[in-house]
């Protein structure tokens, strides 16, 4: 399935590792949360990046605990949308970004619809696997749907309320 | 709704037209008709199954949505009639007199 990173269609450099398979010495690998917990010591000794799949019914705090509070040891967290109606991972994304300051890549997988990319991007998701013939076009169309936002989220857009106050302030100075 | 159907009960296939939501019924010639009494009635599972691919194709082709199989009262001469309040209303429209938009007369002059 096509992978988009920051809106660009890219080849997936990550190896998604089933739990039974041995961990290769190098190259970025994506493991399950259980494996991360079980084999933390060996995994962290690798020099290549580690990513983890976070099921949408596991609290973000469990992942934080599994990495000893240091989320930045992870380069990728893969979120799951088992059905497009199941929006739990939006909250996980925001908790990872805002509450825990996670800086690495956040990838959405599963039943991802084009019309949801806007919401995902605003929750700090920067990568998606999406079934589409024009993934870049879809991303571009969706994330630019609305020119302004009402509420703060996990992107860097300035909410309308703040823009309004700033405009008032400028008027005040001019007057 | 999804009531359990007797195997030999007379049945028809119904749906709503995608573009405007109008109730339609599958006719014998494979078209969709808005008139229940023009619907094709089947009384056995093989006949029903045989109708399905064509109906599903029309769902795929964005002609209709909400495909459903419903039981009907079947009078071979007059054609099928709806069974139950829901299907009666689907076939004939609301049972109430709909509001009519009439111009409003000016108020009577003050006494």
């Amino acid at each position: 399935m096509p992978l988009l990173e920051n809106g660009h269609h890219v080849a997936d450099r990550w190896t998604a590792l089933p739990d039974a398979e041995p961990v290769p010495d190098d190259g970025p690998v994506l493991v399950s949360l259980d494996r991360l917990k079980a084999e933390a010591d060996t995994l962290w000794t690798r020099s290549a990046p580690i990513g983890v799949r976070l099921p949408n019914d596991v609290p973000v705090s469990a992942l934080v605990a599994a990495v000893g509070g240091a989320l930045d040891r992870l380069s990728l967290i893969v979120l799951s949308f088992p059905a497009f109606k199941d929006g739990r991972a939006y909250t996980q994304a925001r908790q990872l970004r805002d509450t825990h300051g996670y800086q690495g890549s956040l990838r959405a997988t599963g039943d991802v619809l084009r019309d949801q990319l806007y919401f995902m991007a605003r929750c700090g998701i920067d990568a998606v696997e999406i079934d589409s013939t024009d993934p870049e076009g879809d991303w571009q169309a969706s994330v630019t749907t609305f020119g302004a936002v009402y509420q703060p989220a996990s992107d860097d857009r300035t909410p309308i309320s703040v823009q309004r106050l700033a405009a008032l302030g400028r008027k005040g100075v001019a007057a | 709704m999804a009531r359990k159907l007797r195997a030999d009960a007379p049945r028809i296939i119904t749906a709503n037209r995608l573009i405007d939501g109008v109730v339609v019924y599958r006719a014998a010639d494979g078209s969709w008709t808005t008139r229940l009494n023009k619907a094709r009635v089947v009384t056995n599972a093989p006949d029903l199954d045989a109708m399905m691919p064509g109906c599903m194709a029309d769902v795929e082709a964005c002609q209709v949505v909400s495909l459903d199989v419903v039981e009907v009262l079947h009078d071979p001469k007059a054609g099928p009639r709806p069974l139950g309040q829901r299907e009666t209303i689907r076939a004939a429209g609301p049972t109430i007199v709909l509001p009519v938009d009439r111009p409003i007369p000016a108020a009577r002059p003050s006494a």
Binding site: D115 | C62, V65, D101, I104, A107, S110
Partner: protein
């Protein structure tokens, strides 16, 4: 009232383009019905029995006369000349074509309206006191907070795919006219000991299959924390609300399962990192929105509704209408005029395009251009000079809009039911019409006094039957439409759920039962005692006796 600025306008315009594109992708087959359904629902578009139904948002029930004219235009141009005002202060059109929906949304957007989040598993249109800003008993205009909530919840990226729909109501007055205890979140304004205004946060109320009265999560939340605290509640709900069973997916089920104390603990834990973050509402933000709800310029006048009613010079028919339909305004010399959409034999909440236009015209002439929609499915002209009442009344009367029954037995709340709704078990409208004929004697209705009958066509309870003084629920027993009656429900500050009396019966028997209950009440009430108070004092037992006597 609130007017869009360029930001608000741009967003609704962009929404129209987005939906136009989605509809064309659906019609071309690029979207399947499964994929399209949540998108159309987020624009208020349902597929009902005979056509699409479009639900248009009327935020906190406030409308301008211009907006009302657009609603009339849509009824005429795209529907069959009428619309239905709902218990959530919205309007629904019953005969919409999917292909027309984008044009309708464009027409709405041109007059600062939309259908955003009037359906779907997201935060719905925030409802409020229909008398907001004019009620004599109000602490603060609740529409300020409602508008802040509208903006926060609109296209909220985290909360657009919740386990289930989410309804918020807010009241600024001690008398609760917004039914805040039967919403997912209810907000009730209070003053603390220093006089500062804040909110009591009530959570987990709701009707439907599992009716529950909401519980107080926080007795006093300072204004500045409104959004961060609500975001924390939503976050707990989005994470832990059930998704395996749609009948158990509302927040009330989660709150019941966890217990209010554990739920509170989780909310507070989520809130901690949010409370002093970007969602904090500085006083300037409140001030900026408050300005947009600045009260109109009233004239210096005197007099009250009561003196007018008592004046022997007043036409008795006018006096009766004033007594039933006009409420005290906070400014002397003005009244709040309630327009009943419950004329004898009428469909509750329905108004024709011409009636909408008449109301718009009356608003321009007599109510500073403003109109409200109530959750009782009526309309309100909020700023009427008492001296204008006679002229207004005569004109409304000519348009069949002066039925003097607001809050009385024939002011029946009813959902569309099986005549339109694809989820219905039984019809609601014909029963409401029959009851309104039965109780068409307005003198008797006034003698009976305030009494709410609520009729829902299925357990979804769109007409709030659980909190009707007399509640009626349509059920389907082997294809027969039957009605189950409850007594003693109420949705005000003393909110309570009605109790079932007797078996479910066919419509004609339901009417006789209700008539019998009313007779019983008249026979046993204390002088001046309201129906609901009699039921509370004596329980349902004396009413059950009525049933036995009738059997």
């Amino acid at each position: 009232m609130y007017q869009y600025d360029a930001h608000d306008q741009a967003l609704v315009d962009q929404r129209v383009s987005e939906f136009r594109d989605q509809v064309s992708r659906r019609l071309s087959g690029a979207l399947t019905e499964d994929q399209f359904k949540p998108l159309r629902l987020m624009n208020g578009l349902y597929l009902q029995l005979h056509a699409y139904m479009l639900r248009v948002a009327i935020p906190y029930g406030t409308l301008s006369s211009h907006q009302m004219r657009v609603l009339a235009h849509i009824a005429r141009r795209y529907d069959r000349g009428y619309g239905h005002f709902t218990t959530r202060q919205n309007i629904q059109y019953n005969w919409i074509k999917l292909a027309d929906a984008p044009d309708i949304l464009a027409d709405l957007a041109a007059e600062q309206m939309h259908a955003i989040q009037t359906s779907g598993n997201c935060i719905r249109n925030v409802t409020s006191d229909p008398w907001a800003g004019v009620a004599a008993d109000e602490i603060e205009d609740p529409r300020i907070a409602a508008e802040i909530l509208r903006q926060w919840s609109t296209f909220h990226p985290e909360f657009s795919f919740l386990p289930r729909k989410f309804k918020i109501a807010i009241t600024g007055a001690p008398t609760d006219r917004a039914a805040v205890k039967v919403h997912d979140i209810g907000l009730r304004m209070h003053r603390d000991e220093r006089g500062a205004v804040g909110y009591e946060v009530i959570v987990g109320g709701g009707l439907g299959r599992t009716p529950i009265i909401g519980k107080t999560l926080r007795p006093f939340l300072p204004k500045e924390h409104l959004l961060s605290y609500l975001e924390a509640i939503m976050r707990v709900y989005n994470t832990h609300g059930r998704r395996d069973n749609m009948y158990k997916a509302r927040i009330k089920i989660l709150v019941e399962a966890l217990g209010i104390d554990e739920f509170r603990r989780q909310v507070e834990a989520e809130w901690e990192p949010l409370r002093d973050g970007a969602l904090r509402l500085p006083p300037e933000t409140y001030a900026a929105i408050t300005e947009r709800f600045a009260p109109p310029l009233y004239e210096q006048r005197t007099g009250s509704v009561a003196t007018l009613v008592r004046d022997p010079e007043t036409d008795p028919a006018l006096a009766r209408w004033v007594q039933a339909n006009v409420a005290p305004h906070k400014v002397p010399g003005y009244g709040i005029v309630n327009i009943s959409l419950k004329g004898t034999g009428q469909i509750p909440g329905d108004a024709t395009a011409s009636q909408m236009e008449l109301v718009a015209k009356m608003a321009d002439l007599y109510s500073l251009g403003e109109i409200r929609v109530t959750h009782e499915q009526n309309l309100v002209l909020p700023h009427v000079r008492l001296s204008d009442l006679p002229a207004l009344w005569r004109t409304l009367d000519a348009g069949d809009l002066a039925t003097p029954n607001v809050g009385l037995i024939s002011d029946i709340i009813a959902c569309p039911g099986l005549d339109y709704c694809s989820l219905a078990n039984a019809r609601s409208i014909p029963l409401a019409q029959a009851l309104s004929e039965r109780f068409s004697d307005m003198t008797r209705a006034q003698a009976i006094g305030p009494l709410h009958i609520n009729i829902s066509g299925c357990i979804n309870a769109c007409a709030h039957h659980h909190v009707g003084h007399i509640g009626v629920l349509g059920v389907d027993r082997k294809g027969e439409e039957l009605y189950q009656i409850t007594l003693g429900g109420r949705s005000d500050e003393a909110a309570a759920l009605g109790r079932i009396v007797g078996p479910a019966v066919p419509a004609h028997q339901a009417i006789e039962m209700i008539a019998g209950f009313v007779d019983t009440y008249l026979a046993i009430r204390h002088p001046g005692e309201l129906f609901i108070d009699t039921v509370e004092r004596l329980g349902t037992a004396p009413f059950k006796e009525t049933l036995h006597a009738a059997a």
